[in-house]
Subunit: 344 residues, 4 copies
């Protein structure tokens, strides 16, 4: 079976493993207070052109999301998210575990708009019973989204403007950010993220690390005491340097960008193959996720050799399927897959 | 500076790293549903002689503690712990974050007794206002404790008996269990732990893994839906196999025991050196932690070359200090240290 | 201004006040452990034909809802509710404050169906990532609903059957139950509620008490230690007898039913008036809430003399409005209103 | 049986009941947004000489405490309290239910000192692992304390000074404040409380109301959005005017002070009787609680006619007992009791 179902099937890029091996015998302080974490944080600040930003390193995405939201909101506040957002559907209530409601907005393609956000906040304040309703306090976007779609810079800027006008924190979940940065036509950059958001994550797990998410915080109100929050959420890794070291490896010579480009290129080959045989895509997803609409017969045929998801049944016995490439996708596997697609 | 302040200054044992490297390119399912995790769980069941136990793998100890406690207790219940217990003082309120109170009992040497537990529960039920008071629902022990002390098998058995009689879950935090199992004279074994507790952890982080704690659950009431709880607490590692692989390496040929024995032997050399110069130990700690009582001058002298903690000031300008050995402690470093101790 | 906007504009029925005055100087135990609470609980068990049920008395509805849900669910579980359910939209996240997600189902008329519930649960268990998703653990209905609609006995029975088949607790919020029991054609009775639900509330606040909600629990799993949960949620009234006394007054000679009948009769007069002038109702609400669809001009005209809500704008400058009668509605006020409606 | 066990055995003062009866048929807005609550809040601001303070009215003390603490603290912060504090021992973990740890300080007489507070905060920041430890964020005092003791104005001022220096909120629980204000020699006044604390409560339940606690907030950081917090905690009474009306009755012509003086006078008679026969008091409690140390025989004798608590066993078969007077204590009951004491 050749795996195209997610971007965390393999271990780590060789540079990451090498770094860990080379430094294995060194003795350092624990809990992220070592020199490697400091270097990695400095490198992130530099790439983000955000000299005052904090960068923290956590093990996983759900942990990072819950910690950020818990650090930012007061108890009666909730977080606006697309109804398909990861925090809304795939974290077993980790946000509710902190007492916060996820306030969902419909978003057919995984995205929400500045107008939707403004309307939701205006509706809250216009309701005479507003104090009986969870107050929107933050906006959560993912970039790329769960459906592989991307925000344009103009969209991000407009959302940022609305958030500041309406006193909402803006949080961008970048679990797949490496692929968002590398995607063709994408114009959201690290400095723009740092400038437009109050906090964002930059995922390592899906981009060549064994594990690790960087949390980049530009708003001091969220940054204050953030390490307490990390510890409280069980996210303070004893051998914290493992996170710093991995990010150093990924950021060195823009390795994360090369890995992103690789995944995007492989996704492009698969996209072209589906297009060539007239199989439509459910979403316009320029990053590393593809959502072809397959008939049952087509899905059955491909599933004999390839692992991928059928995420939603449609009418006429069709399905929205999901194919995912990654830093580790082997071109020869894509070669096989595209050949088989062309036989559909 | 030579580090004796904790047992997580270095990376991982070479066998652990080798396993990770060798399997790096393999594609497996995520979230702990891979074959390596299954094998490691099976191996743990076998070592524990507990064929029906569940074994789950989490990244860190605070996370593991909070997840276990959250899985076990109803909202109005709390967990009894020594006042020095890790959950009571060093987890930034991770247990309270789940809504549970840590009910502390005094324990001069880090241990609590069956009699104390029974008295606390009896006092609860004897109070006419018992419904206004957090109900004890679980007992938390650590073995070894924060002060390096160990429970004898007889003590564990008696605590277990009381817990069952009083309807309390018994949870043993084994973050340093490898050293507890290897300590001289220790008679608590894995099968006894599995038999006497409802749940215990078996730490990898401090015993040669990069990271990882195994949670071994023998009580089905806690085991039910435990993976939901892991995810909710942000503890479900995407590349879950990294945890299974590391535990496989540690459990193979009883590597964890060899590593434990090594640390115990090195601690013994240091213990002997302090004894030789008449420096007393604050606690009778047979595992890998030593708590010599140093004068300010002695501490200052040793701190010029060695990192260790001064954990508590005493009268007469003296301190309880803490020295820690580990799987990675180099005998030549111990040689230097003991030579310097003998000069005190 | 004559008030038709809710059923808690006035104080309490005279019998309730009289009871409180007559017993004012008596000395009783606090916290609901007095004889009046015991008598009221016994009376409820008798009316419900549920000799083993527990009845507890809390001050308010949001408090009662949160306490019940917190007592019933494990941390990773959520509660299914109509998207218009009170817990979903009007309790400022009191359910999320206990860590639980409200899992909403669409319900145009405020109701949800057994088929929707079954489908939601089946979908959960069919998802390969089910452990990453909040598990449905309870169903929350309100009767009457927020939109004044009622469940038929057949509907309640079918929902109850599905809940038991799917291992979900069934909770009915009866903040306006007095009006649901009195409504024309309603066939859900107290004994049926006790038989079909695991827990339900019977509201006093909106039915002639100063305040007070009875929580009736038939499932021992929820009943266990429930008083701890009340205290923990800040709901244990020091002078608990005030609640028992009020419910005794309401239950004596079926006063609650007389009060319910009064409100239903007054609502019927208003309903007839709207029908007479061809103003449609948005929902078929046989209890004490009416939702006529008014033009802006009609609403403006009526609002010069009457307080009522405009709850939803429609197209063509029309609104769904809400009129509410109660135990305290004065027939002469209804006379005025219906005369004015007939002028529309 | 004559009751001396608490100050909430009876209903309400006649003025309170009369107010409720007189206004019973009026129609007002719900949820505390009526004119009576506004008047009561204004009256409190005036008595406190704090024109910018917010005053909110909640039903009960546990609810008020949890809501205030939840409004004030960030998740990783805890609240310093005497180990006998109500929030520490008698609220079934209501503070932990909001995720906050109660950080207890020893206080033999129910009080804590400015020096203790300063030391606890200094110790926190001096610990190299401070981020692993719950951060003190608030100080909770009760006045009178659970042991009937009072803070002097000098003590309160010094605690306030330390709190401001150390960036801690200061919260005074005044469930029995009426008795604290009336106690002989007490020099803490309402204006001083308003000036020295960030928030305090002023209890009605124990001072002649049916129920009700006023929360007075002078710090805008806690006041912001406080009504959301009230609702979220289930504390927003539908017929909110009942609270405003009761406080208006209590504050009118300083009724609360008269009631306080009455209770203090009755307590004084009992205190004198114990002194006359040489029975010592465990604490110097000038308010309405007395803690005589009784032998078993003495306690048995008095318990044949009087209800009071034995709160702590001492050696030699003696007990610390608790007698409580209130606004409702009848002088003839005190006459009987003092006569019987004199026979001991």
């Amino acid at each position: 079976m050749i795996h195209f179902e997610c971007d965390y099937n393999e271990g780590a890029h060789e540079n990451v493993l090498r770094r860990l091996s080379q430094t294995n015998a060194e003795q350092t302080s624990g809990y992220g207070e070592d020199g490697y974490c400091a270097q990695a944080a400095e490198k992130i600040r530099s790439l983000c052109e955000a000299p005052n930003a904090q960068a923290h390193f956590l093990v996983g995405g759900t942990q990072a999301n819950a910690t950020v939201i818990d650090a930012a909101l007061r108890p009666h506040q909730g977080v606006l998210s697309a109804h398909t957002g990861h925090i809304a559907v795939h974290e077993t209530g980790a946000v509710e575990a902190c007492g916060h409601k996820v306030l969902t907005l419909p978003g057919a393609d995984g995205k929400i708009t500045a107008a939707q956000i403004a309307a939701a906040v205006d509706e809250h304040w216009a309701d005479p019973s507003f104090e009986h309703i969870v107050q929107p306090g933050m906006v959560y976007l993912s970039h790329p989204t769960e459906l592989g779609t991307l925000y344009s810079l103009a969209e991000l800027q407009e959302i940022s403007r609305v958030c500041r006008e309406k006193c909402l924190f803006l949080f961008v979940d970048g679990a797949r950010l490496a692929y968002g940065l590398a995607a063709r036509g994408a114009d959201v950059t690290l400095p723009e993220l740092a400038k437009r958001c109050d906090v964002f994550t930059f995922g390592g797990t899906k981009a060549g690390a064994l594990f690790g998410e960087a949390v980049v915080i530009t708003n001091p109100a969220i940054a204050k005491d953030f390490r307490y929050l990390i510890k409280r959420h069980g996210g303070m890794l004893a051998k914290g340097r493992l996170l710093g070291l991995q990010f150093l490896a990924l950021l060195e010579n823009d390795l994360y960008l090369s890995l992103g480009n690789h995944a995007i290129a492989q996704a492009g080959r698969i996209r072209d193959a589906f297009a060539a045989v007239g199989i439509p895509l459910a979403f316009d997803s320029p990053a590393n996720l593809l959502f072809p609409i397959l008939t049952k017969a087509q899905a059955d045929y491909l599933q004999t050799k390839y692992a991928f998801y059928l995420i939603d049944p449609l009418d006429n016995n069709r399905y929205i399927s999901r194919f995912c490439t990654s830093w580790a996708t082997r071109p020869e596997d894509v070669e096989q897959l595209t050949n088989d697609i062309r036989k559909l």
